[in-house]
Homo-oligomer: 181 residues x 2
């Protein structure tokens, strides 16, 4: 399976990866065990510090692992692993090693214990920084402390969930002059 060659990417630029709205894979580590979940409800919140807000349902096995370890990695998959991405979201890691089951490669992160997924286009190492809305909405605020991005292609073929088993895939990129970074 394709493994992207990567290099460090500035954490204040991660809006380039997340703002278009791809479905992501969240990897976690707690007490010797890893897990992966599929997630579509996330938003960039700030450039510096680099903040991401997202919903991790308390119905997910990952919820308590991430709440307790206060860390995760947000990995961005592309079309070539779309089927795996969906199947990961359709089962629980409670009695399963998802890296093994789905033949994905965990790679040690630099600043968190949760592993990077090598087969993903980008990996964002995250620390939990705000839990004020966790109990009411399952809404977590993470700070991206390190980012890794594939050296090519420039524009990844990301997948975007539309509900009811439909996924929009990234289309043509156009340029329109904008004042926004």
């Amino acid at each position: 399976m394709k493994k992207y060659k990567k290099k460090d990417f500035p954490v204040w630029e991660i809006r380039q990866l997340l703002e278009p709205g791809p479905i992501v894979l969240v990897s976690s580590f707690y007490k010797g065990k890893t897990n992966i979940m599929t997630m579509g409800w996330h938003t960039v919140m700030e450039f510096t510090p680099s903040l991401i807000g997202c919903i991790i349902s308390n119905q997910n096995y990952s919820f308590s692992m991430i709440k307790k370890s206060k860390e995760c990695v947000i990995n961005i998959p592309t079309l070539n692993i779309a089927n795996k991405t969906v199947r990961i979201g359709n089962c629980t890691g409670k009695d399963l090693d998802k890296f093994e089951r789905f033949d994905l490669t965990p790679r040690p992160a630099d600043l968190v214990q949760a592993p990077l997924i090598e087969e993903c286009y980008a990996n964002l190492e995250c620390k939990l920084v705000d839990t004020k809305l966790v109990s009411k909405y399952n809404f977590f605020v993470f700070k991206v402390v390190k980012a890794h991005k594939a050296t090519a292609p420039k524009y990844p073929k990301t997948i975007h969930y539309m509900g009811h088993s439909a996924f929009m895939t990234a289309g043509k990129v156009i340029r329109i002059p904008s004042k926004n970074a």
Copy 2:
């Protein structure tokens, strides 16, 4: 300019519109004045009640209008008005009527005072329900109280911001069986 024919859309299904991550236009109304801003940092938060979280910078003129009126409409533009969408984001409504300036049509909403933008593919009427993270992050939580969606096409050509003037446009839609609604 194209105006979509629309019908009511269930508010618990709006993830179909927002989860893929399109850039949106937020319209507001306060003390007799309307405004529009361009926004890319948003996430679905819950099906029922239908919740959306988003960042509205306090640098935007819309910030205080929405904070004070406790309402807005989230409108989803498509490729045919991509240039307008960007230009709306590059100017302030402080001394400008953006509906007039950009030749867009305000239509009365059903449950909020902010106007719908007729030229957009969908319109979500929203009430502000949680301001706990507004002062720290400019993060607003809205409840969608009414939704309108174009009767066609089934999959809109949305635009997705990648930073540095690059916009990903919605590509091909694929189907992968998923347990998730």
